[in-house]
């Protein structure tokens, strides 16, 4: 090939490839515009303040202009008309009038933040987050909140993937990153370098919480003590704990297929008897469960064949219970009683 022919080939390929990419981007932009104007497919009502009364708070993933916004349905009619706010959140949780929203502010400088709202959805405070949101929980008394985010290293700094889990007071200083707590596995303090901590759930007792600790390919359910700043292992292979409203049971996800492609099922541990019930499910569950009541769990599952859309399912905590679709096009459920 002569130099000229090479240049001609390069120009042709460049034009084709760039043309193709620009055409795809234009088509994709058109699709996005169309989706924004499309009817959501579920009954929706725009609102500034969500209706009072017991409800389920969640992130709306129905198409349309309310996509990604905080929404609610009445607890007694979850399939009914959803009220959608104009507050965008990746994860949302509410307890005792304290409402936490973890969000991604996409932009040239994409930043992440935790925003605290009061019961009237007025912003109280915001905290920058070091990575993209994964889990958020508020304590039953509304005085503490915990956030977990994924911190990713830049490609020039590999091997820096980790989770950052921070517990904060709503009215005071941050209690700190769980990495700084003493980790006790089977009674012995260990300090593995690759340890990761995530998925906090708060007990009624204001000093106690549960979370997940991981090192290598092992995970543990750990019990946290805020005053002593310790994390003590309770059980192996249990992630993203969630304590029941009556405080007697803990639900978590359990990996039934160790290896590179985990398959998680939900399981419930009875704290008094130490009996574990595994809730076998047709699809892997990768979420921190939320208790609908003392015998039913809610959790999100990505919708099959759709990218960026999820559904909230419910399952009774008895072995063999069949999961039911609870709220369509929804994610990050939080039950407000």
């Amino acid at each position: 090939m002569s130099a000229r022919i090479r240049w001609i080939w390069l120009s042709v390929i460049t034009l084709l490839v760039l043309g193709g990419a620009v055409a795809y981007a234009a088509w994709s932009f058109g699709q996005y515009q169309q989706r924004q104007n499309q009817a959501p497919g579920v009954a929706v009502e725009k609102t500034a303040v969500l209706p009072a009364g017991p409800h389920v708070l969640f992130r709306n993933t129905a198409t349309g202009s309310g996509y990604g916004h905080v929404a609610s349905v009445p607890l007694d009619n979850p399939q009914g008309v959803r009220s959608v706010t104009n507050i965008a959140c990746d994860r949302v949780y509410s307890s005792a009038g304290t409402q936490l929203c973890l969000r991604t502010n996409a932009g040239i400088a994409t930043t992440f933040e935790a925003v605290e709202f009061n019961a009237q959805w007025q912003q109280v405070q915001e905290q920058p987050l070091p990575g993209n949101p994964s889990r958020v929980r508020v304590s039953p008394d509304g005085k503490l909140f915990a956030s977990t985010v994924f911190v990713m290293g830049h490609a020039y700094a590999p091997a820096n993937f980790s989770t950052a889990t921070v517990i904060s007071r709503t009215d005071g200083p941050s209690i700190g990153n769980l990495e700084d707590f003493t980790l006790l596995i089977d009674g012995k303090p260990i300090a593995p370098v690759d340890r990761n901590l995530w998925g906090v759930t708060f007990a009624k007792d204001p000093n106690t919480f549960y979370a997940t600790a991981a090192s290598g390919d092992k995970t543990w359910l750990v019990k946290g003590d805020l005053a002593k700043r310790t994390l003590t292992s309770v059980r192996e292979n249990a992630e993203c704990p969630s304590i029941s409203p009556d405080g007697t049971k803990i639900a978590y996800k359990k990996n039934l297929k160790p290896g590179p492609t985990p398959y998680w099922n939900l399981a419930v541990l009875d704290l008094a008897t130490n009996n574990e019930t595994v809730l076998v499910q047709p699809r892997s569950v990768d979420d921190q469960a939320e208790w609908l009541d003392d015998s039913t769990l809610l959790y999100g599952i990505p919708r099959e064949g759709a990218v960026g859309d999820e559904d909230v399912w419910s399952v009774a905590t008895t072995a063999g219970a069949v999961p039911q679709l609870f709220i369509e096009h929804a994610w990050s459920p939080s039950v407000v009683r």
Binding site: Y32, G68, G107, G153
Partner: protein, 427 residues
Amino acid sequence: MYLSFSDRSGGKSDEAIRTSPPFKVSPIIISLGIVSMFTDISSESVAAVLPIYITGVLGLSMVAYGFLDGINQGISAIVRIGAGWTADKSDRHKLIAFVGYGLSTLTRAWLLLASGFAAITAIIAVDRIGKGIRTAPRDALITEVAQPEHLARSFGVHRMLDTVGATIGPLLAFIVLLLIPNGYHTVFVVSFACGILGLAVLGLMVPGRKQRAAAKAKLELAAPSTPRAAFRWRELNNPNMRRLLLLAGILGLLTIGDGFIYLVLQSRASFAATWFPLLYVGTNVAYLVLAIPLGRLADKWGRMRVFIAGHGALLAAYLCAALPATGAAFTVACLLLLGVFYAATDGVLAALAGQFSPIASRASGIAAAQTVVAGSRFFASLGFGVLWFMFGREQAIVFAAVALAAALVGGLVIVRGITTSNTVDAA
């Protein structure tokens, strides 16, 4: 397209001191730089949005992904040495590099179809393998076509273009997402397009073995064509190479990774916490601005000296992060120092390894040096993690700084015999 980097400004003093030919960057190096630029736009645009895509869009958690990272690093090291060796054995550097770039580009198209955990982890592994394959053969090509007297500066040109791509990539991705929220597939398509452009430039504009041989034959009409020496590992076992690997290994063991430094900064300064996702831009800007000047300095003053001095900048970055002051100025200074560190060490290491390897085993020599650095830095992050836990982050970073200062003194002793051997051309 053909940028002229020939040195005219301030060249007078050069000529007075040295008789080396004026610097003129080979068009092949510019082409390879553009290949890397497109590839970095491609890979960094995806890397920037992948965490959000995996967690926020696919609804997967990434914890198991972290476990796999170590395994991927191991695979990458083995693949790197293997690809360097294969390139040397077959003398098909361009082909091997093309396979590496091609594999990574394929993963962009694959991302459009993937929605499960297994597919995502496989994609990341294949991308890593592609990166492992291409680096050493490409750096061997750069060494082959660069003027031996200006080797580090030639690498500087390549690394500058590479870093331009690494800086543009994430910005491009976020512009797409700003225009089309949820437009992740558009990011992947744009990334795939950039990957194809990189491959096209490599395939069309970088001459392969036969063309280079033909071009060489034209230049050296009179010279009898000497048969290429066979590859031998033994050739790499020379005193200079041994000392380089020892030095790079020791300094690598004390290079804790900028991720940790970012975390230290983030835990101390609210400025760094707010701009955490953008800290790398500061580092990249310093890197791309300084890549050529520091390469030039390395050629003049000594590549080993600059390589060691670059670790001095790293030491200064540690101290800067360890200082109790928390102003934005300290954060920025720390980021710039990290950029200086990369600019003074990354291309210079490849230049040194290329310089100390005979032609027939150059890709293996470069791969060996890069693997030693990658491996020792991996152990450095593990070790630093332990220190971090036992003594807290401030003490840990002070400890790392003291150890690095000691290692720098040791390094000066190790390289005593070779600092002045820049002009020795292994060819």
